[in-house]
């Protein structure tokens, strides 16, 4: 009997191990394949010059700038909104019909395909509010798209802060605002950061929502109202129109590297933060 249990244990262990290996293999294969195809194209010129001839030649500088500004704008808009909502839902109100509706709404928003956001942004910001294809329209649309993630992760992070820490804070004569900003949010920050990093990743890689709202011009954006093309949109167009596969892979490689770098930096920041508060 004992032997049978042991064998069973071993089979399950082996199976789980194999599944993990497959997952990691697929992941590494994708990264490796794109980097192999993309890295040879990458050079200083590729990074620092604007695309020429529809992207057949030249670099991708303007699309890097476009990606960064759009993402930065989206995060800048969505973070205060999302974290503020989460703080309100968890610290300033009890569970009631209103909070349930807000939560249900944000969960529904999380499930909507990004192209719908694109269409919505196009109708509302580009046409109705006459912002045109612009970084502003794109950032706002992306902000709406990532808002549910930020609300959700912030809410979970805030809830995971032990209730007794709040009691301690209040019992030491803090106001609610002081308790939220000095005790709850610092402890919740790693979780909130995770949500923001996830959102950065989604924004950087987003195509559908952006192509409708920020446009696809190859010129370097000069203001919030300039149209701009992001890297994701750029390689979508390069590949789809058959303009230049090598340049498409080069762009994709840069995109992957950028996301990796963002993750590493965020991870470092988070570690430093955790050290300070534990």
């Amino acid at each position: 009997m004992l032997n049978k249990a042991k064998i069973e244990q071993k089979i399950i262990l082996g199976l789980l191990w194999a599944l993990t290996c497959v997952t990691i293999f697929i992941l590494l294969f994708i990264i490796f394949y794109i980097l192999r195809k993309g890295l040879p194209v990458i050079s200083y010129n590729f990074l620092m010059t604007n695309p020429e001839d529809m992207g057949k030649s030249g670099g991708i500088f303007s699309t890097i700038v476009g990606t960064i500004t759009l993402t930065f704008g989206a995060i800048l808009i969505a973070t205060p909104l999302g974290v503020g909502t989460a703080v309100y839902l968890t610290e300033y109100t009890r569970e009631n019909k209103f909070t349930k509706i807000v939560k249900f709404g944000s969960e529904c928003l999380a499930g909507i395909p990004s192209i719908i956001y694109g269409l919505f942004g196009f109708i509302l910001f580009v046409i109705k509010l006459q912002m045109g294809w612009s970084i502003l329209s794109g950032s706002l649309t992306l902000a709406f798209m990532i808002l549910p993630t930020i609300i959700r992760t912030s809410e979970e992070a805030i809830k995971s802060v032990p209730y007794i820490h709040r009691e301690v804070s209040y019992s030491l004569g803090s106001t609610r605002w002081q308790t939220v900003t000095r005790v709850v949010l610092p402890s919740a920050m790693p979780g909130i950061m995770t949500g923001i990093v996830l959102s950065i990743g989604r924004s950087v890689g987003e195509t559908a929502a952006v192509i409708f709202t920020a446009g696809s011009t190859l010129r370097l954006p000069s203001s919030l109202f300039s149209s701009s093309r992001t890297m994701a949109v750029h390689f979508y167009i390069l590949a789809r129109e058959g303009i230049s596969m090598p340049n498409a892979y080069g762009t994709a490689a840069i995109l992957i590297i950028m996301i990796l770098v963002i993750n590493v930096i965020a991870y470092q920041l988070m570690n430093r933060f955790i050290k300070k508060y534990s």
Partner: protein, 252 residues
């Protein structure tokens, strides 16, 4: 100053429809240690938390009757809850250092009260750690995380943390329930010293602890105050049979 520091008069407390304190009448003398004993669910902690209005954090908490501290009804409209909580520091059953350094734990309250002067804060830290007899143990590592201290040290840090607010009252909610006998002894020693400057109320599940440190002892049962009197009398010739049953360990 009036000798009676805290006075409860026909004081009732409810969580929603559940009555947790029933018609409590008692007085706490200045600079005494009042022990509150009773089985769990008897309302001792609720009474303690009524004193600094910590129960208010629970949304359906409600009170009736009078609870006066230093002659003022603390449930009267216009009472500053924040001032009240600074005046009545509370220590919880499990040591709860906030996740930051020892130094930052002590200065948390004063900083929230608006004290920014570094010299003043340093002085507060030293003073309050000395008053709880833990200064010598931690003076070289004030910047390490408070979570790295032992349980007993953490609890004394928590007492020091409320002393930094210069309270008049110290409320302790089963402060030694998770500590070893030596840590417990150290805290009890601290309390005897602190008594000179503070009025102390200690809720404890450990009747022997009340017998050791309290000047007077109150016995709570099912939200009622059964008996209050000099500790010696409560533990030797209690008036109520329920008190003697509880003390001799026949229930609870």
């Amino acid at each position: 100053m009036e000798q009676v520091a805290i006075r409860a008069k026909n004081f009732n407390h409810y969580f929603g429809k559940m009555q947790t304190l029933k018609n409590i009448n008692l007085e706490v003398q200045r600079n005494e240690i009042l022990g509150i004993i009773g089985p769990s669910g008897s309302g001792k902690s609720t009474f303690l938390r009524a004193l600094n209005r910590l129960n208010d954090l629970v949304f359906n908490s409600r009170v009736e009757g009078l609870l006066t501290i230093d002659g003022k009804n603390i449930y009267a409209a216009g009472t500053s809850i924040i001032e009240l909580r600074r005046k009545l520091g509370i220590v919880f059953a499990t040591p709860v250092p906030l996740p930051r350094s020892i130094y930052e734990n002590i200065v948390f309250g004063p900083k929230m009260a608006g004290i920014k002067n570094k010299i003043a804060l340093d002085k507060l830290v030293r003073q309050s750690l000395e008053d709880t007899a833990i200064w010598e143990e931690v003076k070289d590592r004030l910047s390490i995380s408070a979570l790295k201290l032992s349980g007993g040290q953490q609890q004394r840090l928590c007492i020091a943390r409320i002393l930094a607010l210069k309270p008049k009252y110290i409320l302790l909610d089963e402060p030694c329930s998770g500590l070893d006998p030596i840590s417990t002894m150290k805290i009890e020693e601290s309390l005897r010293v602190l008594k000179k400057d503070y009025t102390i109320i200690i809720v404890t599940n450990n009747t022997k602890q009340a017998a050791r440190v309290a000047d007077r002892t109150a016995f709570f049962l099912n939200g009622e105050l059964i008996e209050i009197g000099n500790t010696e009398k409560i533990f030797t010739v209690p008036e109520d049979k329920r008190t003697s049953d509880y003390i001799s360990g026949r229930f609870g």
